[in-house]
Amino acid sequence: MAKVTMTVNGRQVSGHCDDRTLLVQFIRENLGLTGTHVGCDTSQCGACVIHMDGKSVKSCSILAAQADGSTITTIEGLAADGELHPVQAAFKANHGLQCGFCTPGMVMTAVDMIRRHQGQLDEATVRAELEGNICRCTGYHNIVKAILAAAAEMSGARVAAE
């Protein structure tokens, strides 16, 4: 058994788990944060993407014990004070989700993508960056649109703030 302590969505949590417990299992089973999903068993689908120390990570491809001491944000921690994050709002405005199962991973990937590219994204880049996230409902058309809209809004907001 491993004892792990981490900060999840701004709150310190700790728990005991089997050494072989994946981070995604710890998040879902131990913490009850079921917004992070499991869609495959080969770290291909990206439904389990979370942020670990500020970077997007597939939480199925890391052990909970390896995340000991880290800072984690899950989809539940993204909307501040009940306001949708600009990426979440853009997914809604652009119909970037249907069944919602891949959505948490898509949104977490998109937030990190926009951060890394400082909002400077084009369609080809977004499509290439989404290589690790599979959606079966939307054909990606509106996901790409939503990410580009969010990137434009967030970089515009940043420019305005500067």
Binding site: T34, G39, Q88, H95, R136, C137, H141
Partner: protein, 781 residues
């Protein structure tokens, strides 16, 4: 239409919970005392079970129990069934072999369930499952349907000689043969429709809860039709009577057909919950999903299309072999028959059609409906044949289609369907304009100058949706009626709940169904809630598949709204001492037309419940239900055009543009309709370019993960150009045709026609991988 009514591009009410991680899917459900199941599955495609020894597994840490097929049989749990009876042309009924939820004598495909392990954790259950020793005697295997029909091949079920399930026909063989004999030209082609795995992103899951206090079962399950699941589990599988079984399909992460069926796992988990005394949850991993979710397609067809001297089609003859896998899944028999051969007239006026369909058992996963279900197979066959014929006849593919279009409605085809409305040329023109068809030659020349091969292809599809008139499908063998139900409950404060038998697993019903109510009564969308997916809340329903939620499910809501409106007007008229016929409902008020008298909606609702001042003899309350049985199928249709560039050095295909021009009848929410088309296109393009289920000769599945089965990803696809030109459906109150499957139906032939145009070789099968395209391009040189 108003900002929230019919036709408005309203953002979805359900989105917030999905975007914030508050969606509740089956695997998210936990109940006190819950344990976890893992299934022991056959590693062999065909074998006798000599012995199941669970003694070591039962002693392992955390294990509650291990149960096998003999125990299941002893407890009287029934066989899985196919619910649509098809008779062969000789009059004999289809040969349905026994499908046990847990095999106890013979396994017939890799993944066939043999035993269930229940343990404290998934990991412990998995460890124990590996310790269950099953003694198998391997049997010879056949996976190819054409081969399975040959003499001397392995036999899967004693009922089905030569593995033939049925040999069925539709249409007039003599008239079709005569047309072919007299034709000025006959186009012949063999068409392969590749086997696919549906792959909703949420894997199947179920939580079975037996309550011995009430002798009652609750089944959470990833279902597109929870009421059908309850009916079938009660009436056929002997799990529990309907009043003792509650089925809940909460948020469901996509279905595409694969979650219509009742699978062994939900039956076995309910039974295991009773046997073990604990709630039992099972969640499929992706490998299990590839192994055991019903696959789609897998047809091989020989086609002859006969033309007269004016290029008019005078006959179509089709001989199809359909692989149904190891067992007959719930609607498997209907897919290659009444959902397929009935659409072989396409958009064309064809006087004589004959289709022969043989369905076959093989040592592969069961095959059933997958997005489009039979209609993609018909469309791919027809539209590749049309394109081939155009090339042979030396006419443009557009012109060949134009001269053969059906132009007056209603139109009775020779294969049952009666098309009610459409304008096929309008879609063709819209698509050709959007794709700049006339500018293609210049683009091709430009591509050639860069060493690339450019091609353009089209497909004109039709489908039958709004499934379906109950008496009609009953006469064709369906075991159920295909109506839909709705209940509209106006609360005392005027807010409204709509209960529907349709089920949303991505389609956005919580928004579009509410738009109907907002449109009718002028109440805010936020005051309307849609309730679905729970057999304790909604009395009965047939669920969502076959693009039926709009045409059938919404029509039931409209019928119930009619009744609510009639009673509301009576109440308002009484309150305002006006004539009922003078009451109009606008902007959340019931008004006396031509006066300034009005009663707010909520006040009328309150009056219905206080019942202090109702018309004499009127019952208190305001709640109405309706069942809607459609009068006909609906017939969405359209034209898709795809333009590609093929790199002759690598065989890599790049989609330059994809245009979809659809006729869906009236539209409730264009944003959602476009989203349905996008998703369908991606699945169709996936079938044409990337996806394919492959078994090796021993029946091992070679494509059982996302490392091996090529799902379409964002960088495989272009942005799509979609548009609609609508002829309302005359047969339902909203004029809706349905839009859920069109994209998957119309796109594969457009894409393959474009590639074959580019490389100058028509001999190409799906998926058109770079290797196949390269080889075909080389062969053409």
């Amino acid at each position: 239409m108003g900002v929230e009514g019919i036709g408005a591009r309203v953002a979805r009410k359900e989105d917030k919970r999905f975007l914030t991680g508050k969606g509740r899917y089956t695997d998210d459900m936990s109940v006190p005392g819950m344990k976890y199941a893992v299934f022991v599955r056959s590693p062999h495609a065909h074998a006798k079970i000599l012995k199941v020894d669970a003694s070591a597994a039962k002693g392992m840490p955390g294990v509650i129990d291990v149960l096998d097929g003999k125990q299941l049989l002893a407890d009287g749990i029934g066989n899985l069934i196919c619910g649509w009876m098809i008779h062969s042309k000789d009059g004999t009924p289809m040969k349905m072999g026994a499908w046990r939820p847990l095999a106890h004598e013979t396994v017939r495909y890799v993944g066939d369930a043999v035993a269930i392990v229940v343990a404290d954790s998934v990991a412990e259950a998995r460890d124990a499952a590996e310790a269950v020793v099953v003694d198998y005697q391997e049997l010879p295997v056949v996976t190819d349907a054409t081969k399975a029909l040959e003499p001397g091949q392995p036999q899967l079920h004693p009922e089905a000689a030569n593995n033939l399930i049925f040999d069925w026909e539709l249409g007039d063989a003599a008239a079709t043969d005569k047309a072919i004999a007299e034709a000025a030209h006959v186009t012949e082609i063999e068409i392969h429709n590749n086997r696919l795995s549906p792959n909703p992103m949420e894997p199947r899951a179920t939580l079975g809860i037996y309550d011995n206090g009430d002798d009652h079962y609750t089944c959470y399950t990833t279902s597109q039709n929870p009421h059908v699941a309850r009916l079938v589990m009660s009436a056929f599988y002997n799990v529990a009577p309907e009043n003792k079984l509650r089925v809940i399909a909460p948020d469901v992460g996509g279905g595409f057909g694969s979650k219509i069926y009742i699978y062994p796992e939900e039956i076995v988990c309910l039974w295991a919950s009773k046997r073990t005394g604990v709630p039992v949850k099972w969640t499929s991993d992706r490998t299990e999903a590839f192994l055991t979710d019903a696959h789609g397609r897998d047809h091989v067809s020989k086609v002859k299309m006969a033309f007269d001297a004016n290029n008019r089609i005078i006959g179509l003859k089709v001989d199809t072999i359909a692989n149904l896998g190891a067992y007959m899944s719930l609607f498997s028999s209907a897919v290659p028959t009444y959902l397929y051969a009935t659409l072989l007239s396409g958009q064309y006026d064809i006087p004589a059609i004959h289709a022969n369909v043989r369905t076959v058992y093989t040592n592969t996963a069961p095959v059933d409906a997958y997005r489009g279900a039979g209609r993609p197979e018909a469309t791919y066959l027809l539209e590749r044949t049309m394109e081939t014929a155009a090339r042979e006849l030396g006419v443009s593919p557009a012109e060949l289609r134009r001269v053969n279009f059906i132009r007056s409605f209603p139109h009775q085809t020779p294969v049952i369907m009666n098309y009610d409305a459409g304008d096929y040329e309008a879609s063709l023109d819209a698509a050709m304009k959007a794709a700049d068809w006339n500018g293609f030659a210049a683009r091709k020349a430009d591509a050639e100058s860069r060493g690339m091969k450019r091609g353009i292809g089209m497909s004109c599809y039709i489908e039958a949706c709004g499934i379906a008139p109950s008496a009609a499908v009953g006469s064709l063998g369906a075991g159920v009626g295909l109506w839909e139900s709705a209940e509209v409950r106006v609360n005392a404060v005027g807010t409204i709940e709509v209960l529907t038998g349709s089920h949303s697993h991505g389609q956005g019903h919580e928004t579009t169904f509410a738009q109907l109510v907002a449109d009718r009564f002028g109440v805010p969308l936020d005051s309307v809630n849609i309730v679905h997916g729970d057999t304790d809340k909604v009395q009965m329903g047939m669920g969502t598949y076959g693009s039926r939620s709009g045409a059938v499910g919404m029509s039931a809501v409209v019928k119930a709204l009619d009744k609510v409106e009639a009673k509301a007007k009576k109440i308002a008229a009484h309150l305002m001492e006006a004539d009922e016929s003078d009451i109009v409902i606008e902007n959340g008020e019931l008004k006396v037309a031509g006066t300034d008298k009005a009663v707010p909606w909520f006040q009328m609702a309150l009056a219905a419940y206080t019942a202090h001042n109702l018309p004499a003899g009127m019952e208190p309350g305001l709640k109405e239900g309706a069942f809607y049985d459609p009068a006909n199928f609906t017939f969405p249709a359209g034209c898709y055009i795809c333009e590609v560039e093929v790199d002759p050095e690598t065989g890599q295909t790049k989609i330059i543009q994809f245009v979809a021009a659809d006729d869906f009848g009236n539209i409730i929410n264009p944003m959602i309709v476009e989203g349905q088309v996008h998703g369908g296109l991606a699945q169709g393009i996936g079938q044409a370019l990337l996806e394919g289920v492959h078994y090796d000769a021993s029946g091992q599945l070679l494509t059982a993960s996302y490392m091996d089965y090529a799902m379409p990803r964002a960088d495989d696809l272009p942005s799509f150009q979609v548009s609609t030109s609508n002829t309302p459906c005359p047969n339902n109150p909203l004029g809706i045709k349905g839009c859920g499957e069109a994209g998957a139906i119309g796109s594969p032939p457009a894409l393959i026609n474009a590639i074959t145009d580019a490389i100058g070789n028509n001999a190409l099968t799906m998926p058109a991988t770079p290797q196949k395209v390269w080889a075909a391009a080389q062969a053409a040189n």
